[in-house]
Symmetry: C2
Subunit: 179 residues, 2 copies
């Protein structure tokens, strides 16, 4: 591991960046914060896209490497810095945590991120209705699985808290029906 | 590990199930195949949703456990059956593979799966245009990252092959512009 301080490219409202910040803080890893303002299109600038070809946030420079995609960053930090673990040790419980993570990072977040909602709007659709539909569906999935497996899981709870705060933007605009 | 033969609930056209089948075959794990016809709504039946609260495929019963969500199944199989690995040993290369996997399983697949496309259609949108938009965007991301990191990775190549076959359904209906 390099002794250089990690650098995180992040945007305050990005839920993907948020989960990386949470993990860095949880593990007590000191890092330098470099904001990338997505609303101003800073992620599309050549100097940034050379670092992150996806033109997304977050990007984490650590141990001489450049990492993108939030869950992969979490898995990397877990493998290289196992103190204060995010995952249980039992393979089945690890799979359960990862399945909850996947609901948020696969079935909720990508469906209501900025690029998709901008596309929905540009084709005459209602971006808020679409976001609410996706979040509601995802939260129902989470609820049904949490009812099935009541396990003590640090990562899942952190992510759940995060997604609820993130969803607030949409929930405040209308009723979210989970029944 | 249990000596019982694993059971996979799968649908032939589901790309999530496909990647689990590929992994089971790659690792030489014999399993029983139980089809779940998504087009006929078999995933919504009570007997199935009791096993898989997400009402998705795949579901893998293995070692006395029930696993859902494809990537988590792959990670579980990798942890419990490390022979014929899917991931490299170096943490940074593992992160690179996982970032490619995430583009497919987070940024492409969830955006053009059946439920989302049905929703787009039900609100008067053009489901094919939406699917093509998402696939094109995702493939551009993959291309830019593959150009950056030319590494020898079994899992990523298998997934790439899979997604290209899956995309054929949409590509055949119109031109896919990657330029």
């Amino acid at each position: 591991m390099s002794s250089e301080k990690p650098i995180l490219n992040s945007f305050y409202r990005s839920s993907c960046s948020w989960r990386v910040r949470t993990c860095l803080n949880w593990k007590g890893i000191y890092y330098e914060y470099c904001p990338v303002n997505l609303l101003e299109g800073a992620q599309k600038k050549e100097e940034y896209s050379e670092i992150n070809p996806y033109k997304f946030v977050p990007t984490l420079k650590i141990d001489g490497n450049v990492l993108t995609q939030s869950v992969e960053i979490l898995e990397y930090l877990e493998e290289t810095r196992p103190e204060k673990p995010l995952l249980p040790t039992d393979p089945y419980k690890r799979a359960l945590v990862r399945s909850l993570v996947q609901v948020i990072t696969g079935d909720i977040q990508p469906l209501q991120n900025m690029k998709v909602l901008q596309y929905i709007e540009s084709t005459g659709g209602n971006k808020n209705e679409f976001a609410i539909y996706c979040i509601t569906r995802g939260l129902k999935e989470l609820r049904s699985n949490l009812r099935k497996h009541l396990i003590n899981i640090v990562l899942a709870m952190k992510l759940l808290w995060q997604i609820f705060v993130f969803c607030r933007r949409f929930i405040m605009q209308t009723d979210l029906e989970l029944t």
